[in-house]
């Protein structure tokens, strides 16, 4: 049971470590009965801040607090469609997201929790000045601040349910070049938008016997609307009469609905294994519409349509409880990806991918533990075209994330 008390905060930390990296995370040991960890794709929605809220009841500790910090390093390579030799490598900033999780048992049936993620970000940047896709996108940054209060209730000895309200503030910046230039500079367009959305995180977990636990979790998708977003255009001097104040953009950014099924099996005192199956589906398309005013006869309106395919992510993991002080975990996942080959926009292309992770927990003091993790994801080559822009090629991505966390529970 000591393991169980220790592991929840560690896992909360690890969730963040890996989800920020767009890496699925395993439901890796018995302490997480009913917990379906996020296996989303770096989407700053409900799935990244909390697991199955029903799982809060599956720990014996009265109070847990976990703080985590990660570095996320990710780069993609683009190869233009054959026959072309053109290649470009994205130069994404290193992200340092962090997250705070607190949970507390009110009584034997009721637990409350709060997750705060003041900085979660998805960034992508093509820095090369003459990057050939710059008229579609140079870079973008979707920041999210997430707060999720959650409640968990034990229906019986073996069944718990939970619910979380996900409150997310979004800030989007989208930057591209315009096909106009003067002797020195090419015109640029930057769109800034803000939005606040609510989401739901619902779950149920069941202990079937002393070895096997299963759980089901639903996280609502979000259609984030950045209406009348501010658009600033830096035109060559002769075209500045068009101004920026009259240009507007409407953006609809879609985060998927998510259903997870998870099972955890305790092999023996030392070993626990787990499996996850997660299904993501999209109810809407991504849209970015920039409308120029009538006087801008030199610029046509600009639209991006993004289409995503449903996606299933498969994950397997194992935990080894080496001693009272050390626990080791490892696992991998696979997804066929969610990209539509006809709408392959030059950002992070979530094609087929495989990921590996490993982490170690060290209990420095009873109740206090330190966690170190490392994860890497390999995105296989994905080819396709963004048809509306007649822009095609192949993409590959490597991602890497070391993480550090501190956890306390009693």
């Amino acid at each position: 049971m000591r393991y169980l008390q220790l592991l929840l905060p560690l896992l909360l930390f690890s969730i963040h470590t890996l989800t920020t990296l767009a890496i699925p995370f395993p439901n890796m040991d018995k302490s997480t009965n009913g917990t379906i960890y996020n296996i989303s794709e770096l989407k700053p929605d409900a799935s990244v801040v909390w697991t199955n809220p029903a799982a809060m009841n599956n720990t014996d500790s009265v109070f847990n607090i976990a703080l985590s910090l990660n570095a996320v390093i990710r780069n993609s390579i683009f190869q233009a469609s054959e026959p072309s030799l053109y290649q470009a490598i994205s130069d994404n900033p290193v992200l340092y997201p962090f997250q705070l999780n607190v949970s507390s048992k009110i009584n034997s049936s009721l637990s409350l929790g709060l997750t705060v993620q003041p900085y979660n970000s998805e960034q992508f940047s093509w820095q090369e000045e003459n990057w050939t896709g710059r008229f579609l996108i140079r870079d973008y940054n979707l920041n999210a601040m997430v707060i999720q209060p959650a409640i968990s209730y034990r229906l019986s000895e073996s069944v718990s349910v939970g619910a979380g309200l996900v409150i997310t503030g979004y800030q989007l910046r989208f930057n591209r070049s315009l096909p106009l230039r003067d002797i020195n500079n090419e015109a640029r367009q930057t769109i800034n938008g803000k939005s606040i959305k609510l989401g739901l995180n619902l779950g149920i977990s069941a202990i079937l016997n002393q070895y096997l636990n299963i759980s089901l979790n639903y996280k609502s998708g979000q259609l984030i609307k950045f209406n009348d977003s501010e658009v600033s255009n830096s035109f060559p001097g002769s075209l500045q009469y068009a101004g920026s104040e009259t240009t507007s953009a409407n953006i609809e950014w879609v985060l998927p609905e998510n259903i997870n099924f998870s099972a955890t099996y305790q092999i023996n005192e030392k070993w626990v294994t787990n499996a996850n199956l997660a299904w993501f589906f999209y109810l809407n398309e991504n849209k970015v519409d920039v409308k120029f005013p009538a006087i801008s006869d030199f610029m046509s309106n600009f639209s991006i349509i993004g289409s995503n395919e449903p996606e299933i992510v498969y994950q397997l993991g194992v935990s080894f409880f080496a001693s009272d002080y050390f626990t080791f975990r490892a696992g991998s996942w696979y997804s066929q990806g969610n990209t539509d080959e006809n709408f392959l926009f030059p950002v992070l292309v979530n094609g087929p991918r495989i990921g590996l992770y490993g982490d170690t927990s060290f209990m420095a003091y009873p109740g206090l533990s330190i966690n170190i993790s490392i994860a890497s994801a390999y995105f296989f080559k994905k080819s396709g075209t963004y048809s509306p822009g007649n822009f095609g090629g192949s993409y590959k991505t490597l991602a890497f994330s070391p993480g550090l966390g501190i956890n306390y529970s009693f």
Binding site: I77, Q79, E82, L85, L180, P236, F298, S300, L398
Partner: protein
């Protein structure tokens, strides 16, 4: 044990592989063609004439030069162009700038770049820099390709005299003199364009028979030495932004056949870009001051031009088939721009004047970015015909119209 070790190594390599992905490039190959000596024959677009002038930086981004750079990946060799010495050429270059118009409004317009033409641009450079692989001659007609430089009446062949091997050589002779292994031929546009641009000179558009005779003669001569090449069809010149920029509504023109010697233009007719200032500043095009014939293309001439371009293109296609050559349909490429946006790399191209990204500010010739589109069209045609794999160029790496 070895299998386990390999698995561990594989997993470790993924985990610790860092974040610099790589991707194997495809391998270009020449297929059934020999691209070692490429020669380009043609008119203004082949020469790199743009913004109403032939100048150095425009020539450097000519479509043949872009093709030649790509051919380097498949065994292509040196490609010499008769570069002008400066950015002014013969002094007719246009740039965009703000000017005060006749109403004292500051407007963006195509104006002369100014400056004096360097006299060295008039000297023959063959001895110093020849022989040349780009034998594009601005405004060359099909008959000029086989004409000796001193025997033609086409004033624009002064461009050719700059780099001709001798005063008595012709473009085709100079082309063959470098023993090319591969050629591109895009000729005939000026045969339709010059009569449309200068109606007052009453140039006759050559007949289908004449065009066939010249074209066949050129192909036969090339075919004696060079068995491989690409021919291109001729665009419909009435789609060029020079002829589409000014709207024809409520414009009066002189017409000897009309009642009272004047009439309103129909929507199917075309106004020349040169009429813009007259309409704006001198009330030209009004019923009181109808525009002269030199500023518009009547329907009869448009029909004749379109009939001819179809006839000429039919000949080009037939000869390509007959002589087993690659063929690129520039007519269709240019036509698609006239009907809608043609999108490459997220950039929309159309025949809108200045802002369409395709035509340079003279409204007739191409921007560097359009040259890249044209070059890629040639490359695709060559790849298809000769089973080669010449890499195309990234269009967005080239520039379009430059604004002040």
């Amino acid at each position: 044990m070895l299998a386990k070790l390999k698995t561990i190594l594989f997993l470790s390599s993924i985990l610790l592989s860092g974040c610099e992905p790589d991707m194997q490039n495809y391998k270009p190959h020449s297929g059934e063609a020999d691209f070692s000596v490429y020669v380009a024959i043609g008119g203004s677009k082949t020469a790199g004439f743009t913004s109403n002038e032939l100048f150095k930086s425009g020539q450097i981004v000519s479509y043949p030069n872009i093709i030649s750079r790509q051919l380097l990946h498949v065994g292509g060799g040196e490609f010499r162009q008769p570069l002008m010495t400066d950015e002014l050429g013969f002094g007719n270059k246009l740039v965009l700038d703000f000017v005060s118009d006749c109403h004292n409004d500051s407007v963006l317009a195509a104006v002369s770049a100014g400056g004096m033409a360097d006299e060295s641009n008039l000297s023959n450079i063959y001895m110093d820099f020849g022989p040349f692989h780009n034998l594009g001659v601005p405004f060359a007609r099909i008959s000029d390709i086989t004409s000796r430089v001193d025997a033609t009446q086409n004033p624009f062949l002064s461009y050719f005299s700059r780099f001709a091997q001798s005063p008595v050589s012709s473009v085709i002779e100079d082309a063959l003199s470098i023993d090319p292994t591969f050629f591109s031929l895009w000729i005939g546009t000026s045969d339709l364009l010059l009569p449309a641009l200068y109606p007052q000179q009453q140039m006759e558009i050559i007949t289908k028979t004449e065009f066939d005779s010249y074209f066949t003669q050129i192909i036969m001569q090339l075919n004696q030495d060079v068995k491989q090449g690409i021919v291109a069809t001729i665009p419909d010149i009435t789609d060029f932004s020079y002829f589409t920029h000014i709207k024809t509504q409520n414009i009066w023109v002189t017409d000897e056949l009309a009642e009272g010697g004047k009439r309103l233009l129909t929507s199917d007719e075309r106004l020349l870009l040169s009429a813009e200032t007259l309409i704006k500043c001198e009330n030209a095009g009004s019923e009181e001051f109808p525009l002269a014939r030199e500023y518009y293309l009547p329907e009869t001439q448009i029909n004749l031009l379109r009939t001819r371009v179809h006839e000429f293109n039919q000949i080009i296609k037939e000869r390509a088939l007959e002589y087993d050559l690659a063929y690129v349909d520039m007519y269709e490429l240019f036509k698609s721009l006239a009907h809608s946006n043609l999108v490459y790399d997220g950039v929309a191209f159309n025949n809108k004047y200045i802002f369409g990204s395709f035509y340079s500010i003279d409204g007739l010739t191409l921007t560097p970015r359009a040259n890249a589109i044209v070059a890629n069209a040639f490359i695709h045609a060559a790849n298809e015909k000769y089973k080669s794999s010449i890499p195309v160029i990234s269009i967005a790496q080239f520039q379009s119209v430059e604004f002040p």
